[in-house]
Structures are given as structure tokens and as C-alpha cells.
């Protein structure tokens, strides 16, 4: 069966996949630290300019837990979206930055039994976390920071 992370990506240039721990600068809403660029597997995907050109880079990290994390950075280097998929969730406190506490606050209002996912869908913050033991998946993005032409469907 095909896992969701296996999909065709448009690659430009030489790529090197390295297992790394997180750069604290690469949180949602923060900026990609250029010093870490050489440790990060870079993939550049340029959207077709049919409607509007949308340029962003996707930085993919494979965590020690084998979970794959993607950080979507705009042309100015701001991480406007993140996603994860794997047997364990990543450290969301690190990945979501200040938005982690927002997530906890929203989750504190819910009863959790029967709710095997978190869905925060607000004007300035969307966090979706789902899956089950052995197979967790999620994404988070800042709608106001999304480059033109990029939609939630592109975050995966």
C-alpha cells in the first residue's frame, strides 16, 4: 500500500537527505535559519504561473523517530506551514512555536474521548492533527502568511 508521503516532487538541483534534529529557528511563523540550510534536504517547487506565481520551498526532515516533517517557507524565508507524518508526533512545542500554547488552550476546552483528532480552524491559525497509534499525521499553517496561489491542499 502506498504511504501518503510517497509522492512525486519536482526536484531541482542536487539533494541530500540527512536525519537532523530541529533548528529552533524553523518554527511555524519563524524564519528558516540559513546556517542550517546545508543540513536540510531542500526541494524547490515553483508553481506554474498560469494564475499567479507562487514560490515557496519545502524543507523535509526525517526525525530520529522516522517521522517526516515538512516546513514550507515563503520566498522571504518565513515558515508559513508545517506538516508531519510518522509513527510518532514531532515535538510540536518546537515545531509550532508560540502557536503550541494556543493549541493547548483550545484543546483544554474539549473532552477527548471519541475525538481522535484535533482541529483548530481559526482565521489566523489552522492546526489539524489526526491518525492513530503507529500512524500520526498533521499540519498547521498561518492563512495570512500563505503565498498567493498556495492552498491548504498543498500542505501535506
Amino acid at each position: 500500500m502506498q504511504r501518503h508521503i510517497q509522492r512525486t516532487l519536482i526536484l531541482t538541483g542536487f539533494v541530500l537527505l540527512v536525519a537532523v534534529s530541529f533548528s529552533a529557528d524553523a518554527e511555524l511563523g519563524g524564519s528558516i535559519n540559513s546556517i542550517d540550510a546545508d543540513k536540510i534536504h531542500m526541494k524547490a517547487q515553483v508553481r506554474s504561473p498560469a494564475i499567479a506565481a507562487a514560490a515557496y520551498t519545502v524543507h523535509e526532515l526525517t526525525l530520529p523517530s522516522n517521522t517526516v516533517v515538512r516546513q514550507y517557507a515563503s520566498a522571504s524565508g518565513i515558515v508559513f506551514a508545517v506538516s508531519w507524518h510518522g509513527p510518532f508526533k514531532p515535538d510540536l512545542r518546537q515545531l509550532l512555536g508560540p502557536h503550541f500554547d494556543t493549541m493547548l488552550e483550545r484543546q483544554s476546552h474539549n473532552v477527548h474521548a471519541g475525538h481522535p483528532h484535533t482541529r483548530i480552524n481559526e482565521q489566523n491559525l489552522v492546526i489539524e492533527s489526526g491518525g492513530h497509534m503507529r500512524n500520526f499525521v498533521g499540519r498547521a499553517y498561518l492563512p495570512s502568511q500563505m503565498p498567493a496561489g498556495v492552498t491548504a491542499q498543498d500542505i501535506k
Binding site: 500500500m1 501518503h4 530520529p64 523517530s65 509513527p87 510518532f88 508526533k89 514531532p90 515535538d91 510540536l92 512545542r93 518546537q94 503550541f100 493549541m103 493547548l104 484543546q107 483544554s108 474539549n110 473532552v111 477527548h112 474521548a113 471519541g114 475525538h115 481522535p116 483528532h117 484535533t118 482541529r119 480552524n121 489539524e128 492533527s129 489526526g130 491518525g131 492513530h132 497509534m133 503507529r134 500512524n135 500520526f136 499525521v137 498533521g138 499540519r139 501535506k156
Partner: protein
């Protein structure tokens, strides 16, 4: 589409023959028949302000003794494996699981919306007449080894579900498709680095550690001496107005007694992740069957979303009749499912069970939650366990 081979196997199995059918159980012995009391009552009563949460009562004893306690309103969860109970102090009597150095173990269990953290303790687990002796369980919300904090790689994954009110249950009885809650945590599998699940804890700190099978929180069903190849959930149908209380049964074992022998059912083999496939409106996606999900969650932008019950569907008119096709992970067996989605906002406040659904948390996965079980007996076979429908892991209905 139904495979005739499966239908023929059902006939053979009804005669309690030793034929092995379905995707791959040939060569293994048929499960031994059992006369142990294997039926545990399920109640869907809306306790803790929930909807579609199936509860059972679980008895745990200090191993080898009759010092026991019964915990009610434990969620029966086919999407996880292992017994986890909120420790309000009463579980302190259960001995702590320690490693070979005598250091107490703690466990972090991740769920999609948070985590549970606490000690690992030994108990004799008693469910109906079935007993799992000296089994490791997770004792939620206490301080393993006296450690007062939660490890950062645990607390960083979401909200700490350490009370019954927040969890929405007094515990979770995981009886899904697998035995071990962390294969990669076993010393014999020697992974590097160590998964963020088990920790050796002292008053000063917890550090991740590998463990042995007897230290691991396992699916209690795997530990029964009989009726140990899976479970069956049997809940009655629910009308479109929902109901304030629903009663059903959790049976232990598949094809080991008259009450857990499948009739005309189809087995859908699951993959390593416990997933199968679902095709809906021309799109095929990963899916799973989970009594711990309180609705059928799937992506369909054509269905009106609720304004009050965020994340749920409020179709108009209600109910909305829908069809999907479930497919075995390997692409073998497939079959259609018809299901109704009723508007959540239209249900009265005291409804504890209803045919509700909502938009998928993520990536369009299809999460077949409790409404799939209403009026449909569903069989969950544990990986590598032998059943007359073949070896697990599979879902069958």
C-alpha cells in the same frame, strides 16, 4: 463485490471445521474452542458529556491476589492497544514495573489529540471471565519513580489527558489489531535512537529506555490463555433521532465460541499501520475502523458543516444517505457500505449515540468511527493470530 471463496469458508466455519480461509492463515492451527465467559457489557451513555463513546468496566487486581478494583466508564478502543487507567490514587496498590536495575518505568502514549503519561504497573486484568495475568498497564497521571515532570519529548506532543474529565473516560481499553504498543521499544529490536515511549524514572529525571516484552503495555486480549485472537463489538442499530442510551457487547475471541463465530462476513486485511482503503466519490484514501472515534470522519466539501458543533456535518435535508467502498490494504476483498449522516445540531442534547459524521482531521483519511458499528457486528483480528477467516490483522463485518 464479494469473493465467493470467503462465502464458502463461512459455511465451513459454521460447522467449526478446521478450514483456514481468507488472506493468509493457512498452516496455522485453528483457535482452540473456549468455554470461558467472554462477553463484556458495553454502554454508550454519554458520561463526561460525550457522544458515541462506548464504555466498559474493567477489573484490575494486585497480581496473584484478590485485592481488586473495578473501574467503570473505560473507553473500549479498537484504534489502540493496551489498558490505560486514570490513577486517582487507587492504582498505587498495583506494583510498579521496574527495569533490571530496579528503576521504575514511566510511559508516554501519544494520541492524535494529546498524550497520556504515567507509571507502568502490573495487574491481573479481569474482563468478564477472561484474565490477563501479571500484565503491564499504564497508570495515567501519577509520578513514575517519583518524577514530578513529564519528559519534554512527551509534553511537547499535545495536551496532557491526565484526568477523567479531560480524557472523557476513566481509562482506555485498547483492543485493536496489534499486540505491542511499541515494537521498536523492545531491547531485542535494539533501535537507535530509543523511541519516546518508555522511560526509566527516578525522583530526579526520566530517560528513555528500551524494555522487555513483559514490561510492555500489551493488548490484554493477546495475553488471555484462550479467546485471544481478537475481539468482536456488537452494538444495535440507532435511529436517525439518536438515542440517550445504547447497550451492546464486547466479545473476546473470534470463532472460539458460538457467540463470536462470524456469520456471512468479509475480512479486510489491514496493513502494518492498521489501515485499509476506502473509495468515496471516486477518491481512494487510507482508512481505519475505530470505536474510539465518535463519528464517521471523511472529507466532503459538498456537505454542509455545522455552525454549532464545529467539525461535524449538518446536512439538510437530514439524514443524508451515502455510500463508500472499503478495500483490503492489499487490494483484495472489497465491499460497499451504505451509511447515513444526520445533522448533529438537530440532535437533542441528551443524545448519547447518533449517526453522525464530520470532516476528516487531515489529508482526507476516512475514519470509520462508532456509527459504523450500529447494527453491524465488527470483528478485529490481532496480527499473526489465527482465525477461520485467516490471520490478522484484519477488520471483518
Amino acid at each position: 463485490m464479494h469473493t465467493h471463496r470467503v462465502a464458502a469458508c463461512i459455511m465451513a466455519m459454521l460447522l467449526l471445521a478446521l478450514a483456514s480461509c481468507g488472506g493468509g492463515g493457512s498452516g496455522k492451527p485453528a483457535p482452540a474452542p473456549s468455554t470461558t465467559a467472554n462477553a463484556l457489557a458495553i454502554t454508550v451513555d454519554g458520561q463526561f458529556n460525550t457522544i458515541n463513546v462506548p464504555f466498559v468496566s474493567v477489573t484490575v487486581c494486585v497480581p496473584g491476589t484478590t485485592t481488586c478494583q473495578t473501574i467503570d466508564h473505560v473507553l473500549v478502543d479498537t484504534g489502540s492497544w493496551g489498558l490505560r487507567l486514570i490513577n486517582n490514587g487507587s492504582l498505587n496498590v498495583l506494583p510498579a514495573v521496574t527495569n533490571s536495575s530496579g528503576t521504575a518505568l514511566g510511559e508516554c502514549t501519544q494520541f492524535a489529540d494529546g498524550f497520556t503519561w504515567g507509571s507502568v504497573r502490573y495487574a491481573d486484568i479481569k474482563l468478564a471471565g477472561e484474565v490477563a495475568l501479571h500484565a503491564a498497564i499504564q497508570s495515567i497521571g501519577d509520578q513514575p519513580g517519583g518524577a514530578s515532570g513529564v519528559p519534554a519529548d512527551c509534553s511537547g506532543t499535545g495536551i496532557n489527558e491526565n484526568t477523567a474529565a479531560l480524557l472523557g473516560a476513566k481509562g482506555i481499553l485498547g483492543v485493536g489489531l496489534f499486540t505491542n504498543d511499541c515494537d521498536a521499544c523492545l531491547i531485542s529490536n535494539s533501535t537507535n535512537p530509543i523511541p519516546p515511549v518508555y522511560y526509566a524514572c527516578t525522583g530526579a529525571a526520566c530517560s528513555n529506555t528500551l524494555i522487555t516484552p513483559s514490561q510492555m503495555v500489551q493488548n490484554p486480549v493477546s495475553l488471555f490463555p484462550q479467546d485471544n485472537n481478537g475481539v468482536v463489538l456488537d452494538l444495535p442499530a440507532v435511529g436517525n433521532g439518536g438515542t440517550a442510551s445504547l447497550s451492546g457487547t464486547l466479545y473476546f475471541g473470534i470463532g472460539t465460541q458460538a457467540n463470536n463465530t462470524p456469520g456471512r462476513v468479509h475480512a479486510y486485511q489491514a496493513d502494518y499501520y492498521g489501515d485499509i482503503l476506502t473509495s468515496y466519490k471516486g477518491v481512494t484514501t487510507s482508512s481505519f475502523i475505530d470505536s474510539g472515534s465518535n463519528g464517521i470522519f471523511f472529507a466532503d466539501s459538498a456537505i454542509t458543516q455545522c455552525t454549532l458543533s464545529l467539525g461535524f456535518y449538518c446536512p439538510s435535508p437530514s439524514p443524508l444517505p451515502l455510500t463508500a467502498t472499503n478495500i483490503a490494504a492489499s487490494g483484495g476483498a472489497s465491499g460497499n457500505i451504505s451509511f447515513n449522516i444526520v445533522s448533529v445540531d438537530a440532535l437533542s442534547n441528551n443524545v448519547a449515540a447518533g449517526n453522525i459524521g464530520g470532516n476528516a482531521a487531515i489529508f482526507g483519511w476516512f475514519d470509520w468511527g462508532l456509527p459504523l458499528f450500529f447494527g453491524r457486528k465488527i470483528y478485529f483480528a490481532i496480527e499473526n493470530a489465527s482465525t477461520a477467516l485467516g490471520a490478522g490483522p484484519y477488520y471483518a463485518y
